[in-house]
């Protein structure tokens, strides 16, 4: 029975029950939901579909194929890790919204039609914003509102695109769309907002660092990866994605180098990693699509691990800025170790997960003759090691002694990080398991001497550059600052334009107001004359005259009625 039930249903129903439970039954149920859902999913075979007819449309809330199944497994693993990581919380809001959010992501990847996709697309936005608001600070509240507006906007654009698409093609099935015509462009734009395309990316680096330490672990797993899935399904082989992806791998790393908030550094690094996936989807060969989705799989786990380690630091020290941290390895050796495993994985060291997936995209770029794109990706690979692989662990755990003597985080956080770290090393060492789940048959062999040596040279000499810059004092110090990005337009320029418009318009506004007020005064005066204490309409009337008037009205009404 569980196999024909769409997996999101378990999460949504579970969220309801979790809201009512307290204490250990709640924690048991929280853990049980992704485990039961994941086990049930293992028994589901490809080709399973469930149709529901609503309002004349045949919706497909559940469609299973290789692509959706892979993301389905991934989201169950991610939900489990994030739930373990947040188990110490005594916060119903976060537990419930975390489940609803994970359920929405799972619903979105199994959606067989565009209308169902739209519904889950918006549910993702609405359920996840509570993970930001749960920080319960004015900063987080404002960031949450900005996040919500942009996410809901993405949904509205998707809806517009879907409506035009359906009216043109008559089909609501969500399959290959291809970038032609206004409908496809709107859908592409909606996907692009959630995938953090350049210029549309700023919601991510604005909101993720403001969420709770545990909330960001949920956030980093789902929204952007649903968008990657949607692009892989709707727009594989769309050439512009190659260049968008290449740009995404390169520009955020400059921001990451000079950013002080370490979770924001990870936010920029996320855009960089999504760039590899977007690029792979754009190339559109079997190798590159395999590379893109396997990298999405690995990224959820290693980026989750990195966000967990920084969340742990934030949880125990209350700080997350590079300028405030340092030397934590002394009292938090386990967290340090887990963070380094995540750093090695994102940097694609041999035997760690990034190594077996990212190179597929790069090889595909070379194979298809995109040499400049390949160079950009190579630059970004060196850069990601620099800012995520070295900067994050170095400034949090080593660098200088900040004087902080924080202890290791709660045991559930350590367990979640340990599980994620084991997965990173396992996938990196035995890539065959992941490869067997990919949409296309895999002929790629990551462990050749050429690949291993080339990658080690790239990484070691990137580290050498860091060491050299640090020793010579050329490396820019961490500074208390913000770096302006696209958000400047709506957080700085926009409000000022509004204010200027208001001060320009205020004389006009004043005149209009006095004019209207004068008119209202006249009306009130007239009303007073007729309805006031001495007004003709305010007199006490005899019942008889009332009846007379009513009879007259009825008579006039009757007259009109018959005249019809």
């Amino acid at each position: 029975m569980l196999t024909s039930l769409p997996p999101f249903a378990l999460f949504f129903a579970g969220a309801l029950v979790v809201a009512l439970l307290r204490g250990w039954p709640r924690y048991a149920l929280l853990l049980l939901i992704p485990v039961a859902g994941g086990l049930a999913l293992l028994g589901v075979s490809e080709g399973t579909t469930v149709h529901v007819a609503i309002l004349g449309y045949e919706l497909t809330p559940y469609r299973v194929d290789r692509l959706s199944l892979l993301f389905g497994y991934l989201f169950h693993i991610a939900a489990f890790l994030a739930i373990v990581f947040s188990l110490h919380l005594r916060d119903t809001l976060q537990h419930v919204s975390g489940l609803l959010y994970a359920g929405s992501a799972i619903g979105a990847v199994f959606a067989g039609d565009l209308i169902t996709l739209f519904v889950f697309w918006e549910l993702l936005a609405v359920s996840s914003v509570f993970l930001i608001w749960a920080r319960r600070t004015p900063r987080a509240t404002n960031a949450g509102f900005r996040y919500l507006v942009i996410q809901v906007l993405s949904g509205l654009i998707l809806l517009a695109g879907v409506l035009i698409h359906v009216s043109q093609t008559g089909s609501i099935t969500f399959d290959y769309i291809g970038l032609d015509g206004p409908a496809a462009s709107l859908i592409f734009l909606a996907f692009g907002i959630k995938a953090a395309f350049p210029l549309l990316h700023n919601w991510l680096t604005d909101a993720y660092p403001e969420a709770t330490p545990t909330g960001t672990v949920f956030l980093c797993a789902f929204t952007t990866k649903v968008a990657v899935y949607a692009l892989a399904r709707g727009f594989p082989g769309t050439e512009i994605l190659i260049y968008i992806g290449a740009l995404m791998t390169c520009f955020p790393i400059f921001y990451a180098v000079i950013e002080n908030d370490l979770r924001r550094v990870l936010g920029y690094s996320m855009i960089n990693q999504i760039g590899f996936m977007v690029c792979g989807i754009g190339i559109g060969t079997a190798l590159s699509i395999n590379g893109a989705v396997s990298h999405a799989f690995n990224d959820v786990i290693f980026k989750g691990l990195l966000f967990m380690s920084m969340g742990a630091v934030l949880h125990v020290t209350g700080r997350i800025k590079g300028t405030d941290l340092g030397g934590l390895y002394k009292t938090m050796p386990l967290t340090t170790g887990f963070c380094i495993v995540g750093a090695c994985s994102i940097s694609a060291f041999p035997l760690f997960s990034g190594f077996v997936s990212k190179s597929m995209v790069m090889l595909a770029a070379l194979d298809e003759g995109y040499h400049w794109v390949w160079l950009a990706l190579l630059f970004a690979s060196a850069g990601v090691f620099h800012h995520a692989g070295i900067k994050i662990p170095f400034f949090a755990f080593f660098a200088r002694d900040s004087g902080l003597r924080a202890q290791e985080p709660p045991v559930n956080m350590l367990v979640a990080m340990a599980l994620a770290a084991v997965l990173c090393v396992f996938i990196g060492s035995y890539p065959g398991v992941l490869y067997s789940l990919l949409p296309f048959p895999v002929e790629y062999e990551p462990y050749t001497s050429t690949h291993v040596i080339a990658q080690l040279q790239l990484l070691f000499f990137s580290a050498l550059a860091f060491t050299w810059l640090k020793l010579t004092g050329l490396y820019p110090p961490e500074l208390r600052s913000v770096n302006i990005d696209v958000e400047w337009v709506y957080r700085w320029l926009g409000p000022r334009i509004m204010r200027a418009a208001r001060s320009l318009g205020s004389p006009v506004d004043d005149r209009m107001r006095t004019g209207v007020l004068k008119r209202i005064d006249t009306v009130i005066g007239a009303l007073f004359r007729y309805h006031g204490p001495r007004g003709i309409l305010a007199r006490t009337w005899a019942t008889g005259s009332m009846v007379l008037w009513v009879a007259l009205l009825l008579w006039i009404y009757l007259l009109f009625y018959f005249a019809e």
Binding site: F254, F385, A454, L458, S462, V482
Partner: protein
């Protein structure tokens, strides 16, 4: 207050040791290019030490450009909160 125990990087000699091992590994990796024959697609990959040199130059360029970008991008911490 009891004296805090010494940690591994409190001793500058340990940092020196770590760096020496690291430099040696870099050298070994670069020298491997002399004996190891790469199976390559792009002509540049044939160049001796291509990946090492590329990684080093890329990262130095990345950091120095980012440092310059600070002049354009950097604002005080309360930039968006002010007024």
């Amino acid at each position: 207050m009891e004296k805090e125990s010494q940690h591994i990087f409190d001793n500058p000699r340990n940092i020196k040791r770590l760096l020496r091992v690291f430099f040696a590994l870099c050298a070994v990796l670069l020298l491997l290019d002399l004996v190891h024959h790469r199976h390559v697609i792009h002509a540049w990959e044939h160049l001796w030490g291509f990946y090492g040199i590329f990684g080093f130059v890329a990262c130095v360029a990345l950091v120095l450009i980012a440092k310059e970008l600070r002049k354009v991008l950097m604002r005080p911490e309360d930039y968006y909160d002010a007024d």
